[in-house]
Every structure is written in C-alpha cells, then in structure tokens.
Symmetry: C2
Subunit: 162 residues, 2 copies
DNA sequence: ATAATAGTTGACTATTTTAGTTGGTTAAGT
DNA sequence: ACTTAACCAACTAAAATAGTCAACTATTAT
C-alpha cells in the first residue's frame, strides 16, 4: 500500500463525485475546476478508476461520471489501489528465496504493517468520510470549536486487535 | 502523511536496528547488506533520523548506530515523518482562504483521513511489530499455516471511534 | 602517534513518478 | 449537423526517489 499525492487526487476526486453526482453525472471539467486538478491528469486517473469499475462514464451532452456503486460500498484502499499500481516491496522475490532468514525478517515485518494499513483503509468508505464530516460540522457549530475537531481517534484497541 | 518506498526503507532499517543493536551498535554497512539498501542512501536517511533524534551515531571502530530510545517508544509515524518531509495537501494554503466552501470540502475530508492514518501509525511501535511477529511465528509453527497469518485486523470500531 | 574504522557532509547523476499538454477520436444528445 | 464530453495516445516538464562519488572528521585500538 502506497500513499502518494496521486492517490490523494483520486480520493479527493471520488469524494467530489460522491458529493455532486447525486442526481446528475458530473463532468471532469467541473471536478478539475473545483479541486484544482488538471483536466488531463484527471482523465488519466479516471481511466484507471473506470477500468477498476469504480466509476461509469456517460458520453455526450449532459454526460459525465457517476459512481458505479453506492458510496457506502466504496472504500479508500480500493480507490488508491486502482490508480497506484502496487510495488513488490520484497527484494527477495516475494516468496522468501532469501538465504539468510534474518534478512527477510524486516521485509516481512513491513509487509505485515502494509497489510494492516490496507485493511484499515479498506474499512473506511466514502460515505463514512462524508457522514463523519457532517457530524463534525454540526459539532463545530455547536461548541464553536474552530480547530482540532478531528483529533479524537485514539487507537488503544490496536494491541489487543493484533 | 505520505507512505512511499523512502519511508519503507526507513522503517525497515529501524526495524533492523531494533533487532541487532541489543548489545552492540550496528553499522550502516551491515544494514545495507542485510536489507539490500545502498549504503549512501542509508546515510541520507540516517542523517535525517539522527536530526529527529531517533538514532545515535557512535564513531570509531566498533561504532555504528543505536536507537535513541527504547523500541517501545518509537512509533512508525515518527519514523516516516523524519525522512519524508510533509506536503501541504491543501491547495488553499491550509487555513481555508478558499472562496467556495465546497471546493475546500474534499480537501478537508482528505486532511481528516490523513490525520486518521497518522494517528493509526502513531499507535504502532517497533516493539509491537517485532513482538507481534514473534507471536505469529509461533502460531505459524503450531498449525502449519503458511499464509494469511497476519490477516486478522478488522476495524469495526472505526465508525464509533470517529 | 598512527592507522583503521565509521560517521558526516555535500555535490552530483540516473531513473522513475507525477503532473500536465496537445491533439486527436468516438458516442450521445439537441 | 453540431455540440458536448468521454475516451485515447503520445509526448514533455518537473519533481522525487534512489544511488554514486569523494573528501573530511571524530573516535578508538594498537
């Protein structure tokens, strides 16, 4: 699992799409303008998203893109995986043909962590992000807190969960 | 929070260090050989890790690097942050001087997610990764399962936690 | 003292990825 | 027909990643 600006663009664009494609398809031109991403770069990203069957393109006037599935079905890990082709991560070819066991050990550890991160992002959907945000917005309005609204998440269950 | 091969190298090297620097300092040459990372690239990474006060360099014969703190005190997010200078993520300068509220909205959402990921990685220490791995190793020996040992983590608490 | 070890520094290079550009073709609506 | 907007491919610029080279400095063993 890699997490680069490319993936961020994709997630941002998908979020934008989830927001605005409730009734009508959304054009890439609109997303490009709103999110300040170049149209052609968006085209590249959406070519991959379409291949991964996450969005549907509708041609012609009034066309644009819509989500293939409900926003509750689309998780962040899949979006990132769609645009960001994966890297092998293990130098030793994947299935440890590495002589020294200890050499592979840390690769192995990283792989484990990588899977954890992926699982974590798999558990977050577009719908959750949006809904969560709205909850925060109302909370913000209620107590007038300007910042650190999001800083709530404590991962105390992690150890027990591993 | 970004997650690139650079960060992976850093985490891998730190894991290697945590393993081997129990009694004696570990040289970058050793780590380079074990993890197949070029020595000079490691030097660059460790220059940053040292500045971030995560490792101590010991000069002269028998020298090398040791962890500055106990492996239980070192979390993954800090390692990555040390080598991977952060990007702004928001086009609108950070403190939303963006005219259209909706334009900022998705940036905002991404930022929220980014913080979540960071918090998540902050909760994982080198010691946990190693310990966790050993548990899995014994489990692997016990029931002879070759693969998908790590695939345990389910994030059902996520929604409630947000 | 001196040699060996090993960290420290900086400049430089190659490769890859990211981001954007240009210039089209194809499908659908009016 | 004409417009709109997806779709497609090749190409380019800029940045990040990964690695190289060479000189230098601090430490310690002999």
């Amino acid at each position: 699992m890699r997490l680069t600006t490319k993936g961020r663009y994709a997630v941002t664009a998908m979020l934008d799409l989830a927001f605005h494609s409730q009734s009508n398809p959304v054009t890439l031109t609109d997303i490009a303008a709103r999110q300040t991403i170049s149209l052609s770069y968006l085209e590249q990203l959406f070519a991959r998203l379409r291949k991964a069957n996450m969005v549907k393109g509708i041609r012609g006037p009034g066309g644009g893109y819509t989500l293939s599935n409900n926003a509750t079905e689309i998780n962040i890990a899949d979006i990132i995986a769609a645009v960001d082709e994966p890297i092998d991560a293990t130098k030793c070819g994947g299935e440890g043909n590495c002589q020294n066991e200890k050499a592979c050990l840390t690769h192995d550890l990283w792989m484990g962590l990588s899977i954890q991160i992926k699982d974590y992002l798999k558990g977050i959907t577009l719908a959750q992000l949006i809904e969560n945000h709205q909850i925060q917005e109302t909370a913000k309005r209620q107590n007038g807190d300007t910042l650190k609204v999001i800083e709530v998440h404590r991962n105390s269950e992690l150890t027990s969960n591993l």
